[in-house]
Subunit: 147 residues, 2 copies
């Protein structure tokens, strides 16, 4: 009988991050939310400074999905994962592009940091921080930056 | 002979975070940089999407310090620390206020996520992500949000 070697913590987390981008492309909310802790602390791209809870995050993502006309392009790069036995974090850049609510072309990069905790032997997202830097002169989000 | 109990990983990291806010108030660059890994990955509040290195971070902070007239108020709240044996992360909100370069009153909150790695038995900042959310309607950073 052939057995697969157990995956490293880093490999498991890398797979979760890949699932996330696939779920955005497929607009699959259940797949996207599968790995969030119920009490995840979110520092989101827009609106509030912070909020708590997978339920609210799901609602925001649902709204975000519906704002795009046609396919959502979603690609991650520069993914760095630092994993211990029970605690891990990752940093990466995510590229989204497509057609926005008014028919306009949208194309931007965001920074994504994720904090993971192993809960009942499963890696869960306990913290997520998504942002763009802003321009001190204009006060505007730097939506045109590219890595 | 009286012996202190060894500090928990969480307590050590909490102390590092306290030192950070004290160092900002004192404009003490050496104290502020003491706990950064040389190859720290930074997602900063302004300018670039990302950059690598404690040397560049130090330069940015030095510029930031010199932009304030008089004292820098710096206070942290809602600090949450998730610490394993060798990897940890924290999330918190930081309040800065004081008098800006043009004599204007500045007062804002930022979200701060820090990723820590234990290197040679010492906790070091391997990743830092500082940001404000922005307003989708105006495209501007939401500088007036309060927790």
């Amino acid at each position: 009988m052939k057995r697969d070697l157990p995956k490293s913590n880093e490999a498991i987390i890398r797979a979760l991050m890949d699932e996330w981008t696939e779920a955005v492309r497929a607009r699959d909310l259940d797949k996207l939310m599968a790995h969030y802790a119920p009490d995840v602390m979110v520092f989101d791209l827009t609106q509030a400074l912070s909020y708590v809870g997978a339920a609210r995050y799901r609602q925001n993502i649902a709204g975000w999905f519906s704002a795009w006309q046609g396919p959502i392009h979603c690609e991650r790069r520069d993914l760095s994962i630092t994993a211990g036995d029970d605690v891990a974090f990752s940093s990466s850049l995510t590229h989204n592009s497509g057609i926005g609510p008014g028919g306009e072309r949208i194309d931007f990069w965001v920074r994504v940091t994720v904090g993971f905790r192993k809960i009942d032997s499963q890696w869960k997202v306990a913290h997520e921080h998504v942002s763009m830097p802003f321009d001190m002169e204009t006060g505007k989000a730097s939506i045109n930056l590219q890595p």
